[in-house]
């Protein structure tokens, strides 16, 4: 396809009102928006990467203590939340599909379902946090920790080794920093999807224009991927000991 100035003028004259004047065609405008979103996500990789790096260093230094502290988390709740996020990613995919096909009602329903699943995730996370406060596993002046290192349960009481509470506190600091920053992304995501649902209900999106749905979907999937790595690193370490 050739892009002559006349074709560009024609594209602007007859086509999509969402096509901005500094783009030649809808395809170019969509690709530019998508690329911008991916650059934002690349920046997010480095943002979370700093925390993953801190985790890696301290897991290396305080290996057993991290294993001990990790076993204070509930695998059941962590696995349920992983499944909830994977389901929410499917509803996002179906929302983008509904937008591409111009199905307004289906789009609103999938967006609302995504919000519900996001809120279920945050509810379970809040329950987990509440338990940490009750057990004094929140880093700070009230932190207290007296648990065995992994693999010490079967030994005689005199030989049992306990985790260093300062090192366990570092695990919980990283746990709250990483899951907290992830939860903040979820809260922002729920807000974005609430706005999208309202605008979709008003009929703003359709087969001609659904860039906000697609790019918000990319954001949601990225937050899902962060959790896909957080779950094994925080919940599943040293469980076999």
């Amino acid at each position: 396809m050739q892009t002559s100035p006349a074709a560009v003028v024609e594209a602007h004259a007859h086509d999509n009102p969402a096509l901005l004047h500094h783009f030649a065609t809808e395809g170019q405008q969509k690709n530019a928006a998508s690329l911008g979103m991916w650059l934002f996500l690349a920046q997010e990789v480095m943002f979370f990467g700093g925390m993953f790096c801190a985790y890696l260093i301290y897991r290396y230094k305080y290996f057993g203590d991290f294993g001990s502290a990790s076993q204070q988390l509930s695998i059941t709740l962590g696995a349920i939340n992983t499944a909830v996020l994977i389901c929410s990613s499917l509803t996002v995919v179906l929302a983008v599909r509904a937008a591409q096909l111009g199905k307004r009602t289906a789009l609103v329903i999938w967006l609302l379902l995504t919000i519900v699943l996001g809120l279920v995730f945050l509810g379970i996370k809040a329950d987990e946090y509440a338990e940490k406060f009750e057990k004094h596993h929140v880093p700070g002046p009230h932190f207290s920790y007296h648990e065995l290192l992994p693999g010490q349960e079967g030994k005689p009481a005199a030989e049992q080794q306990y985790a260093n509470p300062r090192h366990a506190e570092m695990y919980f600091s990283l746990y709250f920093a990483m899951t907290g920053m992830h939860a903040l992304h979820m809260i922002i995501g729920v807000g974005i999807f609430a706005y999208l649902a309202l605008m979709a209900y008003r009929g703003k999106y359709g087969a001609e224009y659904y860039t906000p749905i697609e790019n918000s979907g990319l954001y949601w999937h990225f937050v899902d991927i962060v959790w896909i790595y957080l779950f094994p690193l925080l919940y599943l370490i040293d469980r076999h000991r």
Partner: protein, 106 residues
């Protein structure tokens, strides 16, 4: 006349994910979640974390390729951005660990 916008011809036909393949990816992700939980309770020595991270990476790859439509994108810079992000992440993790893991060397 040269084509200044090589992407635009394809870009007008965006990929629409079929429901069946999306559901298949979703089920695969759930199955891998089950496998990673199960594998955590089997003693594989130093390979427990390797297995966990390989499964997580498979899941992340499925999400990126299919749910985020990268397999079907006509924007050739998107894969470049993704590879760059992963490269710089490994630079951050690799060089930091090269420091911490060798501090006791004499």
């Amino acid at each position: 006349m040269a084509n200044h916008f090589p992407n635009e011809a394809e870009a007008t036909h965006d990929h629409i994910s079929p429901v069946g393949s999306s559901v298949a990816i979703w089920l695969t992700l759930l199955v891998f979640t089950g496998i990673t939980v199960g594998a955590a309770f089997i003693d594989l020595g130093p390979f427990n974390i390797v297995v966990a991270l390989v499964i997580a990476t498979i899941k992340a790859t499925l999400v990126v390729l299919f749910f985020m439509h990268v397999k079907y994108t006509n924007e050739k810079l998107t894969p470049l951005v993704i590879v760059s992000a992963i490269f710089f992440l490994f630079l951050l993790l690799g060089l930091s660990m090269a420091d911490y893991a060798t501090r006791l060397w004499r």
